[in-house]
């Protein structure tokens, strides 16, 4: 079967059912991509990210694979599998893997845009706050209310209001 847009062989076959009417499309990969007809799931963004990450890791992979963010608890491999980071501090912890990935996605790895007008929290402060919040959540889950109250106080003292 040939692609409906060009003469290449059709490898992507889509069936759209809109209001109980069936519509079929047969396309080659490149036309399907150009028309943005391949759904997110089929495009499998995490897999693409994973392959991008893989390409740039090489010998560092083992070291990176062992990394876990102390603040939110996400493992580097989990990020690789899902394509989503766990917390702002991951940008510090996974830096070795992220910098080449960002270079590949954005052709740059340094911010040139807007800066918040207020002074921003240092990375360590951000990480500490995320970690305190995680401990608070786990205390609540364990019904350790005294510990939870203590952590809440601590967060408040650190001036954390969002």
């Amino acid at each position: 079967m040939k692609c409906q847009f060009c003469s290449n062989p059709a490898t992507v076959h889509l069936t759209d059912i809109v209001d109980s009417h069936k519509k079929e499309l047969h396309l080659c990969q490149s036309c399907a991509e150009q028309h943005h007809l391949i759904q997110k799931q089929e495009l499998n963004l995490p897999a693409i990210l994973q392959s991008l990450i893989g390409q740039h890791l090489g010998p560092q992979t083992d070291e990176l694979a062992r990394l876990t963010c102390p603040a939110c608890g996400i493992k580097y491999m989990e990020f690789r599998a899902q394509g989503r980071l766990g917390c702002p501090h991951d940008y510090v912890v996974f830096r070795a893997g992220l910098a080449p990935l960002l270079q590949r996605i954005h052709r740059s790895n340094h911010h040139l845009g807007k800066f918040p007008q207020r002074s921003v929290l240092a990375p360590e402060q951000q990480a500490e706050l995320v970690e305190l919040r995680r401990r608070l959540q786990s205390a609540i889950d364990r019904e350790a209310y005294e510990e939870a109250a203590r952590l809440r106080d601590l967060l408040r003292r650190k001036g954390c209001h969002g």
Partner: protein, 355 residues
């Protein structure tokens, strides 16, 4: 905010006015922001999401904006109301379908929408009718500044605004322009335009974003790169190509008119005739026919109906809007009948009182 009121208006982006509105439907900018002290949404417990929501809701309520934003909790909405907000582009399909505490703050004119607990804690969006990216940027920048006075954003000097997905980090900005390009599609030049855009890292999507089809010949063009360029730079890159695409589309329309006026006239008249008299109509066919009618109005080949009316019909014939208007839940076949009957009625009214 009563969502039923949305079915009496067509919303900012379909107002059908603004610069270049014969081709540019709307301009939209969104910013992704996160709170410094919380895990990203996908890693947050429901308890944390509730905390994030409460905190953002409180801060947003205090914003010095006129008119005030109204907050809607998504879990409290029926699935029909969620779908209604998606059809109006006020929330994403992802936010409609997600789990846990989440919501959206909206202005009554639907120009600003702030999504809470989407992929990022906060997704700001500003929409304008026609080609007004610059104006949209001024507005969203101002809202972002106001929010930032009350919220500590996750930000690093190196990587900028930190986001759950590395594809949004840096400015966190996605600027997009929605274009109606029937003539470029008809003359098969659209592929060329897409290829050129891809080369300069601009993405082309259908009407409802990622993965959606370009029904009704509507295309959204947006930046892909968010890191390593300033917001002004990103906007400049988009603004440097949109006028060219507008010119190409106008040229394609004129040469279509010149080479095959009768054929074009017939296509438009048939589209209008079908809309006026069919008794069953899918939303896809409606989009295609309204697209032809819209083109006909812009080329002065059809006088019975105006652009704002066509724009209204585009949105009111979407499934959730239709069901809201009918005040009943309808299955596919019933929707097709209701859609056709609604179109017949509106076009009869419009034809009787052309304005």
């Amino acid at each position: 905010m009563n969502l039923d009121s949305l079915t009496h208006t067509s919303g900012e982006w379909l107002r059908g006015s603004g610069p270049e509105s014969d081709i540019v439907i709307s301009s939209r900018i969104r910013l992704a922001r996160n709170l410094a002290a919380f895990p990203f949404t996908n890693r947050a417990s429901n308890g944390q999401k509730a905390e994030i929501e409460a905190l953002l809701r409180e801060r947003v309520a205090k914003l010095e904006l006129e008119p005030k934003l109204s907050y809607l909790s998504i879990p409290a909405l029926s699935s029909l109301d969620r779908q209604l907000l998606v059809e109006r582009q006020l929330i994403s399909r992802e936010l409609a379908a997600a789990d846990g505490p989440r919501g959206v703050a909206l202005t009554p004119q639907e120009t600003i929408s702030l999504m809470v607990n989407e992929e990022d804690h906060l997704r700001l969006q500003v929409m304008r009718s026609g080609y007004s990216l610059e104006e949209a940027w001024q507005e969203i920048d101002r809202v972002d500044d106001l929010l930032e006075q009350r919220i500590t954003y996750a930000f690093s000097e190196e990587f900028g605004y930190l986001t759950a997905c590395p594809t949004n980090v840096g400015t966190g900005m996605r600027a997009s322009v929605m274009l109606h390009l029937p003539a470029l599609e008809y003359t098969k030049q659209i592929e060329k335009v897409f290829r050129a855009l891809q080369k300069i890292n601009l993405a082309v999507r259908g009407l409802y974003g990622e993965g959606s089809r370009a029904s009704g010949h509507f295309y959204q063009i947006s930046n892909q790169i968010t890191l390593g360029k300033s917001e002004a730079n990103i906007l400049n890159e988009i603004q440097s190509v949109i006028p060219q695409i507008i010119t190409y589309e106008r040229q394609a329309r004129l040469s279509w008119l010149r080479d095959n006026r009768q054929g074009l006239q017939d296509k438009i008249a048939r589209a209008y005739g079908t809309l006026c008299s069919a008794t069953m109509m899918t939303s896809e066919e409606t989009m295609d026919l309204l697209s032809a009618v819209r083109l006909g109005i812009n080329l002065h080949l059809i006088e019975e109906i105006t652009i704002p009316t066509v724009n209204e019909l585009f949105i009111y014939t979407q499934p959730a809007h239709l069901q809201k208007l009918r005040g009943a839940s309808l299955d596919g076949e019933e929707r097709n009948a209701a859609r056709a009957s609604y179109l017949r009625q509106r076009l009869r009214e419009a034809g009787a009182h052309p304005n």
